[in-house]
């Protein structure tokens, strides 16, 4: 009984104490139990793609949301991951579990390549510079069609798994791991420095922190994560083509992240898990699908400019004015210091 008390106490004090943590635990539980609720391949595929795009959106949040290095060409990392894993799998016969990490490493290298010329650029100059990179890679794709498949792309890539169930758990598992790792990292000193970089780079340097190193780290982390997403995508869709590099692909993580709440990690997760299934659900009204979708995004951003995830969190939890600890909105006093909370 004593050993049972420890997890129960942890659950009560660390999870049940905060509504957003309860939501997060329920979300993970539903995600893991989803295949027991339905075996519909379409629904499983929707969740798989949602999970892949979550990894992709979170990678943008790290670079642009946290570190403030606005990337409008994020499809570069996604595309490099997709093309590299496709080429390694098809040309060298590497299995998926080897090709995917190598695809992510190639995207990391792309991140460094982009970072080097962009380190001195800021704000819209940086955004425009990053926009150019996927366009350049698209040019290279068309320049070497023998290798890249040109506009057809690379096809007949091995399936991620032999069954949809295995594919589901593989992708969802990677997504949960990636989100968890980045959550921890962004909650650490690194995340704090990224925040500071975004707010005032001069102050960061004045504090003796090597800003260049941390910017580079943001590109590396973001590139690696987006590369994983791209590599998984290639094995799920079984095509790595120029559409992986197009503008639409670059803008999607921006929309998802801002919709959910930037610089939060949970924001892009919320954004993708609301918007992507919503877009699928709107297939019921094909003629108005994109219009309704655009209106939904506009309305949310008009009334919840910090993002839906942040908006919900602010409604469910309040910060203690004394110790800054978060508390459920139902509490009258802080759960740590007993300070009275504003109603």
């Amino acid at each position: 009984m004593y050993w049972l008390k420890i997890p129960f106490r942890f659950l009560r004090s660390e999870v049940l104490a905060l509504p957003t943590r309860v939501i997060a635990v329920l979300f993970v539980a539903v995600l893991l139990l989803f295949p027991f609720m339905t075996q519909d391949t379409y629904l499983l595929r929707v969740v798989v793609l949602t999970a892949i795009f979550t990894i992709y959106a979170v990678s943008w949040d790290v670079l642009s949301g946290y570190a403030g290095q606005i990337s409008l060409g994020h499809a570069l990392f996604f595309g490099v991951g997709a093309y590299t894993t496709a080429l390694l799998n098809l040309r060298l016969g590497l299995p998926q579990h080897a090709a995917i990490p190598l695809g992510a490493l190639a995207a990391t290298a792309a991140g460094i390549l982009v970072a080097i010329p962009c380190l001195r650029l800021r704000k819209h100059h940086l955004a425009l510079a990053t926009l150019a990179f996927p366009l350049m890679l698209t040019g290279l794709v068309f320049m070497f069609p023998g290798l890249t498949g040109g506009e057809l792309g690379i096809t007949r890539i091995a399936r991620l798994a032999t069954s949809r169930l295995v594919e589901y758990y593989a992708v969802v598992g990677v997504m949960l791991a990636a989100v968890g790792v980045l959550w921890k990292l962004m909650s650490s000193r690194i995340g704090l420095i990224f925040h500071a970089l975004r707010e005032d780079e001069v102050v960061v340097r004045a504090l003796g922190i090597n800003a260049v190193r941390y910017k580079l780290l943001a590109f590396v982390l973001s590139g690696f994560t987006a590369g994983i997403a791209g590599a998984l995508y290639a094995h799920v869709i079984r095509v790595a083509g120029p559409s992986n590099l197009d503008l639409f692909m670059s803008f999607q993580p921006v929309i998802w992240t801002i919709f959910g709440g930037a610089a939060t990690i949970y924001g892009p997760v919320t954004g993708v898990f609301v918007l992507y299934p919503a877009l699928e659900y709107l297939r019921a009204i094909p003629a108005y699908r994109m219009l309704v979708f655009a209106l939904l995004v506009l309305v949310i951003l008009r009334f919840m400019p910090e993002g839906i995830g942040t908006w919900v969190r602010e409604r469910l939890e309040v910060n203690c004015p004394h110790c800054r600890l978060r508390n459920a909105f139902t509490r009258r006093t802080c759960r740590a210091c007993r300070t009275e909370l504003a109603s």
């Binding site: 096809t155 869709i237 095509v239 019921a284």
Partner: protein, 435 residues
């Protein structure tokens, strides 16, 4: 409304036919907010209505009516969307027809083969959609067939034959023995082998080549909004003919600039934009006399079914069918295959599809070992169409001699084809010249 289902069951009892007890569900896949997808849909609806009215599909002891399910792939915008759209219906349909953007069709067909659902492609031309798939891994990809358009490599042959026809017209009408040919091809990979092939053929002596003179190749972007600099260079090169290989939006600025500048060179080849009924409006009227490879045209009897289909389509939709409307033939091919198989069992239907010998609206449709249409006289050839008097009229094949060496007397053409006309400003410009 959870799904957009168009139920086309036209109850046969009204016609005294067999009571419809079952349905065959066919997913019509395409970008439904774009003209290409709408033509996929209208072509399929026309065929389904006709088949259901005529008694449906009779397989063995049972009869089936066709129920079409519209699958909006949104493939112009997102390949992911296209894949999800197919995944959404693949468990509910017996067959799929359609597809347009090659990369999206690649991905969508992967979903279809994973579920073992036959997919009749009607809209994407790349050879690689079938070559290297059906022939390399038959068991996995046997479910894929193409009903339109003809594959890219055959489209290239067709466009070269159109060029030969125009070269011949210059020789006959203007007495220019060695016409000068410029190549204007968009900067995309599909056009590369075609450009190389054409450049060699232009200068090669007949009968292998054209016996003409190649004056240069210009490669604008597929999304270029102006081609006037390239056309000015073509004019300076004294070209008589411009061979085009344009599949993207650049086709419209090409037609507009070519007519507006009155470039003294006839344009012929592939220009996908010129296949649209809105070509003249899109080019501000400057696209008259442009010529392109196509598969549908007004008033040309490719087969006995061609004119009724084209006229019926124009009555229904108000415009000439695009090649994506070949879903019409796709449904008839499926009907015949199911009836031959006598069952809906997928392997039996695939076997029956392989035995297809169907006289459709675009020719006699027979599949080769890669499940692609056999191209050539007596099969599917495609057409050469030219914009004359506000309409796209077929000028090729007309008195075509496919094998002048071995079969010098064999000529091939379709009733209704009209002679190619050199644009009047080109005729006027080159009239004094006699080699």
């Amino acid at each position: 409304m959870r799904t957009l289902v168009c139920f086309l069951a036209l109850v046969l009892t009204a016609f005294g036919g067999v009571a419809a007890s079952d349905v065959i569900r066919i997913g019509v896949v395409g970008p439904m907010t774009a003209m290409q997808g709408q033509h996929h849909w209208h072509g399929a609806v026309m065929a389904a209505e006709e088949i259901n009215q005529a008694g449906g599909i009779v397989a063995g002891e049972r009869s089936y009516t066709i129920e079409l399910i519209q699958v909006d792939s949104n493939e112009m915008v997102s390949v992911t969307d296209a894949v999800s759209a197919v995944e959404r219906v693949v468990g509910r349909v017996h067959f799929l027809v359609g597809g347009f953007r090659t990369e999206a069709v690649m991905a969508m067909t992967e979903v279809a083969v994973e579920h073992g659902v036959p997919f009749l492609i009607a809209g994407a031309a790349a050879d690689a959609l079938l070559a290297g798939r059906v022939d390399a891994d038959y068991d996995e990809y046997k479910y894929l067939f193409r009903v339109a358009p003809v594959r890219s490599s055959d489209l290239a042959k067709l466009s070269i034959l159109l060029l030969i026809d125009v070269v011949q017209r210059f020789r006959e009408d203007l007495g220019i023995a060695v016409p000068r040919v410029a190549v204007v091809a968009e900067r995309l990979e599909w056009a590369d082998p075609l450009v190389r092939q054409v450049e060699q053929l232009i200068a090669a002596p007949p009968p292998q080549g054209l016996g003409a003179e190649w004056v240069g190749t210009w490669r604008p972007s597929a999304r270029a909004e102006s081609v006037s600099s390239e056309l000015t260079a073509v004019e300076r090169a004294d070209a008589h003919i411009i061979y085009t290989a344009l599949s993207g939006p650049v086709g419209v600025p090409f037609g507009r600039d070519w007519g507006r500048l009155e470039v003294p060179a006839a344009a012929v080849g592939i220009n996908v934009e010129a296949q649209s009924d809105k070509w003249l409006d899109a080019t501000g009227g400057f696209g008259a006399y442009a010529a392109t490879a196509d598969i549908y045209a007004r008033e040309v009897a490719v087969t006995e079914r061609a004119i009724p289909f084209v006229e019926g389509f124009i009555d229904r939709v108000g415009e000439l069918p695009l090649y994506t409307a070949a879903t019409y033939d796709g449904l008839y091919i499926l009907k015949a295959a199911v009836e031959r198989a006598g069952t809906l069992a997928v392997d039996a239907v695939v076997g029956a599809l392989e035995e297809t010998d169907h006289v459709g609206t675009i020719g006699r449709m027979v599949f080769d070992e890669k499940h692609d249409l056999i191209w050539g006289p007596q099969y599917v050839t495609g057409l050469g169409v030219q914009w004359l008097d506000g309409e796209a009229l077929a000028f090729w094949p007309k008195n075509w001699r496919p094998d002048p060496v071995n079969l010098p007397d064999f000529e091939f053409g379709y009733p209704g084809a009209v002679p190619y006309q050199i644009p009047p400003w080109v005729l006027e410009h080159w009239a004094p010249e006699n080699d």
